[in-house]
């Protein structure tokens, strides 16, 4: 198969074949980050811009490192240091950046659909680095890659996603990606954080985390999305931690070789106990390592497509 898409806007736009193509390509890029000289000349002469209107540590750094390891030049723009504060619209910013002829733009924005709007008006590749509570496709791809790496397969897995599902772009992208495979997906959390229509996506809901985690292969914990009003869905953070925080007792109910995932940033003692986050079942830092490899593969595929 050859890659033909200009943009990576969401998992919804990807076929199963395309998801697998990205995961298979990632294998080749992962090895580069473990070398002494962590650089290959593949994207020499390409320019990659990260345009982030929301805070980020992992995703932005991960994209920048991925681009640099492929020898692309990178420029980072965050809203606080851009002309956004002078009143420039996203569209005008995009048009102006386009005039400098970048090859790829990674955008994070609180407005769902912002990357899709840019993709329509720009010649460069647009990659969604998270748009509101809508999608975060590279996170879902690195999560699937990590599941496949640790479990050897994706088909047949029981994946339990716990937390603020309603406000989570990570949950949405993961559900869409996992639905390409023969997986059992269970969403858990307080009823106020689980959209009532969630079952229409083909997933189960189980408000009781103790029941949800039984025989799980993968437990994915999400934080409370305070910036999207998640905090108003619960009486108190302390109560949430008591009822929905992942603790050792939950791991005992899951499969013996369960893996614990978290897209970060984590709030220790809230959605995940420190001993679980740092424990032997946690693959949270593997997710971060794999994130660089997945983003290298995506940058390679998108910017190398036929013009």
């Amino acid at each position: 198969m050859k890659w033909i898409k200009k943009d990576l806007l969401g998992i919804r736009e990807l076929s199963k074949e395309e998801v697998l193509f990205i995961l298979n390509s990632t294998d080749s890029f992962k090895e580069i980050s473990r070398r002494d000289i962590k650089k290959v000349p593949t994207l020499r002469g390409k320019t990659v811009i990260t345009l982030f209107y929301e805070p980020s540590t992992r995703t932005r750094t991960s994209f920048e490192i991925a681009a640099k390891r492929l020898s692309a030049d990178t420029i980072n723009i965050s809203s606080s240091t851009s002309s956004y504060v002078k009143g420039e619209t996203l569209k005008d910013t995009a048009k102006n950046l386009e005039s400098m002829r970048p090859d790829a733009i990674i955008i994070r924005h609180s407005m769902p659909g912002a990357p899709h709007m840019l993709a329509g008006i720009m010649n460069s590749s647009v990659i969604n680095g998270g748009d509101g509570a809508h999608e975060h496709p590279t996170q879902a791809l690195l999560d699937l890659y990590t599941m496949r790496e640790k479990k050897g397969h994706i088909d047949g897995l029981k994946v339990v996603i716990v937390g603020d599902i309603a406000h989570s772009r990570v949950a949405r992208s993961n559900i869409l990606a996992l639905k390409h495979f023969d997986t059992e997906i269970v969403c858990s959390g307080p009823p106020t954080m689980i959209p009532p229509y969630i079952e229409s996506l083909g997933v189960k809901k189980e408000y009781n985390i103790n029941k949800a985690v039984v025989d799980a292969d993968v437990i994915m914990m999400l934080r409370i999305q305070k910036e999207r009003g998640g905090i108003s869905s619960i009486p108190s953070v302390k109560e949430y931690a008591t009822l929905f925080g992942l603790k050792t007792e939950h791991i005992e109910k899951a499969k013996k070789d369960v893996i614990i995932m978290h897209p970060g940033p984590m709030n220790r003692g809230v959605e995940i106990a420190a001993e679980v986050a740092d424990g032997p079942y946690s693959v949270i830092l593997d997710q971060v390592e794999n994130g660089v490899a997945v983003r290298m593969a995506i940058l390679y595929l998108l910017t190398g497509r036929e013009m």
Partner: protein
């Protein structure tokens, strides 16, 4: 398509045997030697050379697989070709690396392979072994060991088939009619 067989199964076996002996002769044995096969058919040739050296010297040389896609000089002219895995499970520093490929043509693949290996460390030497040198060089690169040197017109195609992947062993030249 008119085709002509340059090497059959027996001839390929004899040729690989001869190249193996040349490698051992030139390097005075197999110490600090390693083999790296260039995807795809270079891998199988490197495998064969490794097992022949093992039967002669009683020692299995370190063997690696190299995918040169990320080092190509024509990436911007083509759709992203599928990248496959590079797997070199040994330290190339201070090694004599025998780079193995099936066909030597423009020299661009070899250039990419040399760059790729240099990014992994500093080998003592890199030598090049190819089953067939078809001429048509665009870079000043030449093989140290060539199974067969046979000038082929640029419109003709040299096809190396190896039983591990193609079901049979032969080298043919195909000429479009």
């Amino acid at each position: 398509m008119k085709t002509k067989v340059l090497l059959d199964k027996k001839a390929i076996e004899r040729t690989v045997n001869r190249m193996t002996h040349e490698i051992l002769e030139k390097n005075e044995g197999s110490s600090a030697l390693s083999l790296i096969g260039i995807r795809t058919r270079g891998i199988y040739l490197a495998n064969r050379i490794q097992s022949k050296i093992k039967s002669i010297e009683g020692m299995a040389l370190p063997l690696g697989v190299l995918d040169i896609t990320m080092y190509r000089d024509d990436l911007s002219k083509m759709k992203s070709p599928e990248v496959k895995k590079t797997d070199i499970p040994f330290d190339v520093n201070n090694m004599t690396v025998i780079l193995v490929d099936d066909v030597m043509h423009t020299g661009r693949t070899t250039r990419a392979a040399i760059d790729a290996i240099m990014d992994l460390g500093r080998p003592k030497k890199i030598q090049l072994a190819v089953l067939i040198d078809r001429g048509g060089r665009e870079l000043p690169i030449h093989p140290d060991y060539a199974g067969l040197t046979y000038s082929v017109h640029h419109k003709e195609e040299v096809l190396v088939r190896l039983h591990e992947i193609d079901g049979k062993d032969e080298v043919v030249v195909a000429r479009p009619v």
